[in-house]
Amino acid sequence: MSAGTEMAIRARGVTKLFGRGTDQVVALDGVDLEVAEGEFVCLLGRSGCGKSTLLSMIAGLTRPSEGEIDMGGRRVGMMFQDSNLFPWLTVEGNIHLALRLSGAPKDQWADRTAELLDMVHLPGMQLRRPHELSGGMRQRVALARSLAQDCQILLMDEPFAALDAITRDALHDQIERVWAERRLTIVFVTHNVREAARLGDRVVVMQPSPGRIAEEVRVTLARPRKMDDPLIATRAAALHDKLDKYHVIAEQGRTS
């Protein structure tokens, strides 16, 4: 990281405990994470390593038990594995609601919506209803809705995990393009090593019980990347070995 780069997210000593007494579980144990402005960071780990918990704390959906997270007042948007489009609203209605909640003047809504739908390659879909769309299309509308609030940081919690491989590849291309065009800072949670290697500038490998950052890996491949690039496969294989290693260490820690 070059000196003078502004940090978009600074998490220091973040610990999250669930439950009480003997049932208490340490979901995250003293995590430090810094994400530079405009950086694309992937949080990689098996289930139970606290990556989603960390993300929802950055989003402000839950509070850390200890430690602090500072985003310098930047606007944060979030996407989930499910698109969570509001089923009683049209595509347009969903985006308008995001614009309304972020305080955009009403006379701009129509233009901004058209612009956002163009950006996610869904022009003219304003009046469709969520249940009429495919899973990939819904996720693109969800992306447009997140961008409608003019967020500088976009948090993505396994947003493409429920999609088929072809759709996912297409969405990887789109999110990479949108990230570059909008100079977004993205924190992307995944358990898919190829996805992490395909998307991240940096991959933060996490380990379970308790959730910690095990290692950080820089991915210095040129962009735009392609999923079928053999270099990505090589990086993915290396990440896979690391995941296995930290998983085994965690298992041993538990049984000893």
Binding site: L61, N84, L101, R129, P130, S146
Partner: protein, 274 residues
């Protein structure tokens, strides 16, 4: 002038669809009327106690010509609309209060569900002592009958709002009032409308019970009308009045069902046939 062929076939197709929808209920009514006529012909009861469908139809026409029965209908409908309207306001307010406050919920939540199972006619002796033979006595019971269903519909609708939608709305910046206004209430709408339907059914039943028990002098209503017909053993207009009551109940229920279906279809919740 002949219509274009395409237009004519489209019209025929529409007629066909309409027919496909109307013949089953028409057949049902025909079978019912046939059985009724048969019972009349075999004199299962003396004809002055058990009139034929034809006589009831004649009574219906006579009632329709009588201004007094129209004013009776007006009184009953007004009570129904006012009672249900007040129950709607009260039930909605109560539902929002109970879903917002945990304390209130545990204090009167189960009481509210209990009230739903209590036959509202059981309230009348008390209501009559409280208000006398007045409009208030009737409205009191109509409201008591409908409020629990409406409130409970709203409460379970709000309880069942998917947490994922609330979280998403939170990340979009919805808080407090805007969360309720734009997310929680719309998400709860289908269950709320189902509660309204049930509330209407209870209100209408309570109203009829009330009009039979609380007879207010010089104010004709469908209930009073039925009481008179019974006292004069005039069965044909009695049955005609009952048909009017049935039809009104069905029409209002039909309107609410249409609203409910539309709400559900728009969000892709329509019934799936496999």
């Amino acid at each position: 002038m002949s219509a274009p062929a395409g237009q004519r076939t489209a019209f025929a197709a529409r007629l066909g669809r309409l027919w496909a929808r109307t013949w089953p209920p028409l057949l049902g009514v025909a079978i019912l009327l046939g059985a009724w006529q048969l019972l009349y012909l075999v004199e299962f009861r003396p004809p002055w106690v058990f009139p034929s469908p034809g006589e009831v139809a004649t009574s219906l026409v006579e009632l329709a010509r009588d201004p007094v029965s129209w004013s009776a209908l007006g009184t009953t409908l007004t009570r129904g609309v006012v009672g249900f309207g007040l129950a709607l306001l009260l039930g909605t307010a109560l539902g929002i209060a109970l879903s917002a406050s945990r304390v209130l919920r545990s204090a009167i939540g189960s009481l509210l569900t209990g009230l739903q199972t209590m036959p509202s006619i059981a309230w009348f002796p008390f209501a009559i002592l409280l208000f006398g033979l007045t409009e208030q006595a009737i409205l009191f019971v109509v409201i008591l009958g409908a409020v629990p269903s409406i409130a409970n519909g709203l409460i379970s609708g709000i309880d069942d709002v998917p947490p994922a939608l609330v979280r998403t709305a939170h990340t979009l910046g919805a808080r407090g009032f805007s969360m309720y206004r734009y997310v929680v209430v719309p998400a709860a709408l289908p269950t709320y409308v189902a509660g309204l339907k049930q509330g209407w059914a209870f209100a209408w039943r309570s109203l009829m019970a009330g009009e039979l028990l609380v007879v207010i002098a010089a104010r004709p209503s469908l209930g009073v009308q039925m009481t008179f017909f019974r006292e004069f053993a005039d069965t044909a207009p009695l049955l005609a009045t009952m048909i009017v009551i049935l039809v009104i109940g069905m029409v209002v229920d039909g309107v609410l069902s249409r609203v409910s279906n539309r709400v559900r279809l728009r969000r892709g919740l329509g019934a799936v046939r496999l």
